[in-house]
Symmetry: C2
Subunit: 117 residues, 2 copies
DNA sequence: AAAATAAGGGAAAAATTATTCCCTGCGGGA
DNA sequence: TCCCGCAGGGAATAATTTTTCCCTTATTTT
């Protein structure tokens, strides 16, 4: 893991949530898993704009924070599945709300941004 | 403005919201303004962990997205106030939910992280 | 005259995150 | 045998974001 130089302030709830949801693909990954996309290769296909390596790394972080847990089915071909933990489940409404706000306000944001020539 | 090299995908609502809330201090700024901290220098004091320059920049972005609007009161000393726009108001429940989830789950996250030695 | 307050920006450096490239190991099919 | 798909990691690089440093303008206070 990368060792931070600037200490993070976890007093603020916003920072805690952002630690979990802030990565470029973390919310998408949680959303996908909640919809039943559990296997790494399926996630790579589902979130094709992200490089597989990136998804792996963010999965590892989500696992570290106890948002998902990884089940390894030994045997061959090796099978791995990720599941949401109760804490992971508990953040889904937030992810849904974030997605919803974004969809509702996308046009506004895009328009504003284009307005600056 | 910095010119992105990797295009952003605003199809996904999550990305739209993160554009607005993703900066390290944007949610804090929106929260502060909603609580009546309107003047730049007050914001600098209220969010003292952030360098003033950073707050200025994030304010400018929030203004670009139409989340806040800036009122300049000419005269001396010059007075500036930021207000939430209706769109800015509409994201407050989301900011509150993000803060709340973080506060509720802070201990869990911290514990998990410390558990990796 | 010097310093403080108000608002803010340019440029560069530092920090952080994301991405790419390539490698491992296992077993199955052509 | 060679290549494919599975799961995943190391190292380096690129991209992005945050921070620091210092400068500007105008008025008021000491």
């Amino acid at each position: 893991m990368y060792e931070r130089k600037i200490p993070e302030d976890l007093e603020c709830g916003i920072n805690v949530s952002m630690k979990v949801l802030g990565g470029k693909w973390k919310a998408c990954i949680l959303d996908s898993i909640s919809k039943g996309v559990r296997r790494p290769s399926e996630l790579h296909t589902a979130i094709s704009s992200a490089a597989p390596r990136v998804i792996n790394m963010q999965l590892r972080e989500l696992e570290e924070y106890g948002m998902v847990c990884k089940k390894i089915f030994p045997g061959t071909p090796l099978k791995v599945e990720y599941y949401l933990t109760p804490t992971g489940e508990s953040i889904l409404p937030l992810v849904a709300a974030i997605d919803q706000w974004g969809l509702t306000n996308r046009d506004h944001i895009i328009r504003m941004q284009e307005a600056l020539q």
